[in-house]
């Protein structure tokens, strides 16, 4: 790519309150260039009022996710080459969350649901006790470890049609977190987790459409985690205990 080449970028602007529209920009192409760089270039050089969000730049904080050509992606680690079609890219804010302005969404609903799914540790011992020995190869531990590296980027949440259609649905990330905690031998209140994911919008609302797993940038598998919760709640129903 020579530096004089440009790419045509369409960006969704505004918010529900102020009205939304698409705006087109020409951005110079570079050899090493991510979608985040493209968005930054527009803000730094053409339109200083363009709003977007990022922090770590390396796929660890999960704050730069946007819809790129209709697909939810972490923009800091999406090379332009991967998404460029006819020298064009189409960028919009993450789906399924309220837009604050331009490309920045309000992530509170996502995290409220994380909490509602009991996606947190329920301690059984305190800081004075020694750290329990846990076999890293134990089956339950392996299951817990499978989902532990979620960066709460909300990409799965944006990909899921059930989230789009059902405002109560807790969504893949929160449920996967619940499943991870459920499989943690250290957790003291696994019953509370099953209760939380059995209510309105819980794991039973998932239709296993697997968009979460298909698009998770970290290769995690919320689909299977949610299936695990369904299995656990069913087993409890038939008297299998929590």
């Amino acid at each position: 790519m020579s530096h004089r080449e440009t790419i045509t970028v369409t960006v969704q602007r505004g918010s529900a309150a102020t009205g939304q529209h698409m705006q087109e920009f020409q951005v110079p192409a570079y050899e090493s260039q991510t979608v985040l760089d493209v968005v930054s270039w527009i803000q730094q050089n053409t339109d200083p009022t363009l709003t977007y969000r990022f922090a770590c730049r390396v796929g660890m904080c999960g704050s730069c996710a946007m819809m790129v050509n209709g697909v939810p992606r972490w923009t800091c680690r999406t090379h332009v080459k991967k998404v460029l079609k006819d020298q064009r890219i189409d960028i919009a804010p993450l789906r399924n969350l309220p837009v604050l302005k331009d490309l920045a969404v309000d992530m509170d609903p996502f995290f409220d649901k994380w909490v509602a799914a009991e996606g947190r540790h329920h301690p059984s011992i305190g800081r004075d006790a020694p750290i329990p020995a846990i076999n890293p190869e134990a089956a339950a531990r392996q299951v817990a470890s499978a989902g532990i590296e979620c960066i709460n980027c909300s990409i799965c949440y944006a990909a899921c049609d059930t989230v789009a259609n059902d405002p109560d649905y807790l969504g893949p990330a929160a449920l996967q977190r619940a499943w991870t905690v459920y499989n943690d031998a250290k957790d003291a209140d696994r019953g509370a987790i099953l209760d939380a994911v059995s209510g309105k919008g819980g794991c039973h609302s998932c239709h296993s459409m697997g968009s979460c797993t298909a698009y998770c940038p970290n290769g995690l598998d919320p689909l299977s985690a949610i299936a695990g919760l369904k299995r656990a709640t069913t087993r409890r129903f038939f008297g299998g205990g929590a």
């Binding site: 570079y30 090493s32 760089d37 730094q44 969000r53 992530m107 540790h121 750290i131 020995a133 250290k186």
Partner: protein, 587 residues
């Protein structure tokens, strides 16, 4: 353009700025120790837990957990790593409390760190450590720590002010105590003054005024700039730690400067110069496995020899270890490079030293108290614990240990504090005017100025320093600073206006860059991260001093203070006699 009347008012009891390891731990501990009904508020420049550097921690968390390792040994490593400059009581507190904090992280917060086959915690050794001490979760330790802390905090009754940027510490009329903090609600662009009985500043420093830097984009020295303006003393401000291997991908991409992990060199990765030759053994017997400062200087020296703008850095090459093995062992790093278009496993990747961590900070006591009543500082914003160099793994230990302490202390102190304090309206007005300054000036581009500052700092106040260079640096910083004051931001749309915040970021960076440079001029020897080509000698350890900077009117005043060897003197050790020098098997 804005007056005091335009400021929204808000009150709370305990206010915490920042949600890194320090901020989140402080919130949890404050809720535990403060009297029932105490209101705890978190204000943060980004989203809770999703900004800052604690989340970016890769290697891990230093803590002595037996197997021969002791708090004493951890302490000695910290003092020696810091070249005898650390505040010894803080360093001791750090090492001692890390033991409690790691248990808290596992048992109460729900972190899960990597285990040995027998179920005990796995620990490894970073360069500069004499024991396998670093607890970790793969090479994504920070994600585990911050996610678990974040979900605990989100589930508790804490008031959240997200995307609220602190811009000024507002003292009382007599200046003895802190009344509150002026912020911008970034989403609306409105100003908000939050009064609180106690405030923890945990905004995490962040040396992002260098051309190559690793920290999160939201970190721009805001905290230290605010502390400077309110007259607090800052120590060790010349101490900027460079990580030797930052990715170099051009100045048009935010990937540039991001870290390629230490373990790559540990595993046998080679550094190759422009002539295609390995060079690190010319500088140190440990070659690529030498400590960060040594490798950074080696690379910097090679870059200077080459002096070719087309190929600035050196190359990190892993291919000789077998691309498949590399791709498996360093999956995360290889994928990250691949996403950016580089082949780490089979090819070579261009790297440069990159500004990573800031050892300097506000002078605090072991309880995180500052000279100003009601203001506490913890984490990377606080100076003292690391002295002239931070050991890998001591950063997150520091922020979580002292964050927790700050929460405990604020929760206790608040019991004896009466009413909220009234602010000095003059200062409030001045801070408001400061933030509004660009809105009244003809709009221009902020980015080129930031790049200019980053070049000045990299060239003149970087890995190797000289008096002449530092003085040129001061001139360069002043030019950027003046140019910034002539560069405006259109006031038409202040809601979520990133360009306004870019301006404010650069304002903080200019202010602290000047302090770094002055402190570097003040230290006429070479210690830890600070290297003076004109004074390569470390100086006598017995006579160790640290630098202290303080704002006086419009200028910055420097002085030196002697290090108090409260626990151990140079040449001595707190380890029992007969203890082996190192417990780490030779690599």
């Amino acid at each position: 353009m804005f007056t005091l009347k335009d400021i929204d008012r808000h009150d709370t009891d305990i206010l915490i700025l920042g949600t890194g390891g320090a901020g989140l731990f402080a919130a949890l501990h404050a809720l535990q120790t403060a009297p029932e009904g105490t209101k705890v508020t978190i204000a943060v420049k980004g989203l809770i837990g999703k900004c800052g550097c604690t989340r970016m921690v890769q290697g891990g968390y230093n803590v002595a957990l037996g197997n021969g390792d002791t708090v004493e040994r951890h302490f000695m490593d910290t003092i020696q790593g810091g070249k005898w400059l650390p505040n010894q009581d803080m360093a001791w507190r750090l090492c001692e409390q890390a033991v409690v904090r790691i248990r808290e992280l596992e048992n109460e917060i729900g972190c899960f760190f990597d285990r040995n086959p027998d179920g005990s915690l796995h620990q490894k050794a970073f360069a500069g450590q004499t024991a396998d001490r670093t607890v970790h979760k793969g090479d994504l330790t920070g994600i585990e720590i911050i996610n678990r802390l974040m979900e605990q905090v989100l589930a508790r009754p804490v008031e959240k002010l997200q995307e609220h940027r602190a811009i000024g510490l507002i003292p009382t009329r007599d200046g003895s105590a802190l009344a509150g903090v002026l912020m911008i609600d970034m989403r609306t662009g409105r100003f908000r003054f939050v009064r609180a009985k106690t405030v923890l500043m945990a905004t995490g420093g962040g040396p992002t005024m260098y051309k190559y830097h690793t920290p999160s984009g939201d970190k721009t020295m805001d905290g230290l700039a605010m502390a400077l303006r309110v007259g607090l003393p800052l120590r060790d401000m010349e101490m900027v730690q460079f990580h030797p291997t930052g990715l170099l991908a051009g100045d048009h991409t935010r990937m540039t400067g991001t870290v390629l992990e230490e373990g790559l060199r540990g595993a046998g990765g080679q550094l190759i110069n422009h002539a295609g030759q390995r060079f690190m053994f010319d500088y140190d017997g440990k070659g690529e496995r030498a400590t960060r400062d040594v490798v950074s200087r080696g690379i910097y020296a090679e870059m200077r020899k080459n002096n070719n703008p087309e190929q600035e850095g050196v190359f990190l090459s892993m291919a000789h270890l077998g691309p498949e093995w590399v791709a498996k062992k360093f999956k995360g790093m290889v994928e990250r490079c691949a996403d950016c278009g580089f082949d780490l496993a089979g090819g070579k990747v261009e790297v440069v030293p990159t500004a990573h961590y800031f050892m300097g900070g506000v002078v605090v006591d072991v309880d995180t108290r500052t000279a100003m009543e009601g203001l506490y500082v913890a984490g990377e914003d606080a100076g003292g614990a690391h002295g002239s160099n931070r050991l890998g793994g001591n950063g997150v230990a520091n922020s979580t240990v002292f964050g927790g302490i700050a929460g405990d202390v604020m929760g206790a102190d608040i019991r004896s504090m009466g009413a909220l304090r009234d602010p000095d309206l003059g200062v409030l007005e001045a801070e408001l005017a400061r933030a509004c300054h660009p809105l009244g000036v003809k709009p221009g581009h902020v980015l080129p100025l930031r790049q200019r500052l980053q070049n000045v700092m990299w060239d003149e106040v970087g890995v190797m320093r000289t008096e002449a260079g530092l003085k040129r640096g001061l001139g360069g910083i002043a030019e950027v600073s003046d140019a910034l004051m002539q560069t405006g931001v259109s006031p038409d749309m202040l809601a979520f206006n990133l360009t306004w915040h870019d301006w404010l970021n650069l304002r903080s960076l200019c202010d602290i860059s000047e302090v770094i440079t002055r402190a570097a001029l003040e230290r006429d020897n070479s210690r830890g991260a600070h290297y003076r080509e004109d004074f390569p000698d470390p100086g006598a350890m017995e006579d160790s001093y640290f630098t202290v900077a303080r704002a006086k009117g419009d200028s910055v005043e420097m002085h030196r203070e002697a290090v108090q060897f409260t626990r151990v003197r140079p040449g001595e050790t707190v380890l029992p006699t007969g203890e082996p020098e190192t417990l780490v098997a030779a690599q």
